[in-house]
Amino acid sequence: MSAPQPTLFVVGATHHTAPLEWREKLAVGPDKMPEIQRRLSSLPGLQEFAVLNTCNRIELYGVADDYAAIEALRTTFCESQGIDLPAFRSLELCKSGSDAIYHLTSVAAGLESQLVGENEIFGQVKSAYAAAQTNRSVGPVLHKIFQKTFQAAKHVRTHTAIATGQVSIANVAVDLAATIFGDLGDARVLLAGAGEIGEQAAKAFRSRGTTDLTVTSRTMEHAMALAGSLDGRALPFDKIAQHIADFDVLVCATAAPGSILTQSVLMNAMRTRPAAPLFLIDLALPRDIDPAAAEIDNVYLYNLDDLAKISEENRAARVAEMAKARDIILAKASLLWNSLPRQSNPRN
């Protein structure tokens, strides 16, 4: 009679299986993580494990001697989180063998994310692996699976359009700016309005290398506060019209009741910089910029609807690539599963 073979598995819950209120209960806080890892490390029959813990998922990957060890892991996890085991089971994601590899690769490639193709999850999976390495809870099987998963996820992101095109309004605006100016390092950006959406756009510009950032607001104190937090400058609101030609990008997100920039104001500004393009991003409702400004040569005006439409197109393009990405992952997961050493090949 042959000895029972180990099982590769993943158990957990994601935004696909559990509603937000449950994910809140399942999420492991940073203070609790060492305790859970310590308890899981002491479980008999659990050879290897790694915990992937993000705002949208808690997933425990492991290699167990038998199903009893997996059951013990469930019980331990539920006890740690103060959750009923039957309730956890009803929300649970549970996969084994090549399906577990397929799932991990899909997660790392961003296919399982709420925002399909997002980049952050790849780093989170890498962090989970690094933490497991530090904790010495990964062995030869998980080590190989994670390494190959990273390669496969990179391949998917490179060879499909799953991660192309931005989907957040702020990033769409910055991408658009890049299609006008190329390198944004020397782009001079003026943010009008100290609200949340404008701040997001300003941060997105900062993250893409923009250094010259100016903030203006109807309340000068707000402008100065935001400029301080963004390491930029503040400009009095009533000076916009006379300084507009000094900027390449204008992000308007004020709560003004009507247009703050008319076509004639912008035409005057463009007379001093006729060959240099001006990108106007109107994120305000009601709109801050007269729509007729779009007719001016070298002026490119985009409002909230325009950006939302591009975001939606990018999102749809990503979703359309999912089938192709899944085919690639399926092939790679199958290859990886079959390549695991026979004597240590965990059973499905």
């Binding site: 095109g165 658009l176 890049a178 299609t179 006008i180 100016f181 190329g182 006729p274 060959a275 240099a276 393009p277 779009a294 040569d297 070298n298 490119y300 985009y302 325009d306 439409k309 591009i310 197109e313 393009a317």
Partner: protein, 279 residues
């Protein structure tokens, strides 16, 4: 192998570049820049070989008939792309360059009358006249590339103004980069043509009777038009889409003028003789 056979093979390379680029565009994929660059480089090398063989045959830079003028213009544009494309990573420019080279080489190969007479020793003993002609034609190559980048500028402007950013438009370079490239190419082109005219003028002063008036007027008109466009751009009076249209129109005019300029020259150069094309 004959010069024309080398150029036919070069044309096949440019055609392959166009096919590869068109497939990528049709599939909404990024241009395979490396492949296209490789094909254009190969086509350029073969075209250079063809022009070298022709140069040996006619005893100088092959600029003696319309076929050779078209070939040299296309060759110059391709040479410049190989530098500009690499520097600015303009993958779509490779596709457009393949297309332009394909059109110029195919059209010139397809009209036998343009290559029916091969004029030998058209520059006599004067290296400076050969230099003048070569630089003038090279500037046309620069203007060809300028026309291509102007087309790309118009496409990018259209995409931004009409909010059409997906598909083939997504592979176009940033509009400010295109503008910078256009201005640089215009500056280089005008500089080269000015140099050519200065060298030509030195010869003209010494041998006034050998210069054809029609050729002189057409060449100077083109130079004035491009120089004026550059001056107005520098002054901020001509820019954006209008500058692009001007550059495209001027290049078409320059290309159309090649045939009458060449025809008018047939009486020039007392020392020139002709050879029959090889079968």
């Amino acid at each position: 192998m004959t010069d024309r056979q080398w150029i036919w093979i070069a044309t096949a390379c440019y055609f392959a570049g166009v096919v590869v680029g068109t497939i990528a565009l049709a599939r909404n994929r990024k241009q395979p820049a490396g492949t296209i660059y490789g094909l254009v480089t190969l086509g350029f090398a073969l075209q250079t070989l063809g022009l070298y063989v022709r140069g040996i045959e006619v005893g100088g830079c092959p600029l003696g008939n319309t076929f050779e003028l078209f070939q040299f213009t296309g060759w110059s544009a391709t040479a410049l792309y190989l530098v500009v494309g690499l520097t600015f990573r303009l993958s779509l420019l490779g596709y457009f360059t393949s297309l332009l080279s394909l059109v110029l080489t195919t059209v010139s190969l397809a009209v036998p009358a343009w290559d029916a007479t091969r004029r030998v020793g058209i520059f006599g003993e004067s290296v400076w006249i050969e230099f003048h002609a070569a630089i003038a034609l090279f500037s046309y190559g620069v203007f060809a590339l300028l026309a291509l980048t102007s087309i790309m500028f118009l496409l990018r402007n259209y995409s931004l103004k009409h909010k059409q950013l997906s598909g083939a438009f997504s592979f176009l370079p940033a509009i400010r980069d295109l503008d910078h490239i256009c201005v640089r190419l215009l500056t280089v082109g005008v500089g080269l043509l000015s140099t050519s005219l200065l060298v030509g003028a030195a010869h003209w002063v010494r041998a006034f009777e050998t210069v054809n008036l029609a050729k002189l007027l057409i060449t100077i008109s083109i130079w004035i038009a491009y120089a004026l466009a550059l001056f107005l751009r520098r002054k901020g009076l001509l820019h954006g889409t209008r500058l692009s249209w001007v550059c495209i129109t001027l290049f078409i005019a320059a290309l159309i003028s090649v045939y009458p300029v060449n025809s008018s020259r047939h009486g020039d150069g007392a020392t020139a003789s002709t050879v029959s094309p090889k079968p």
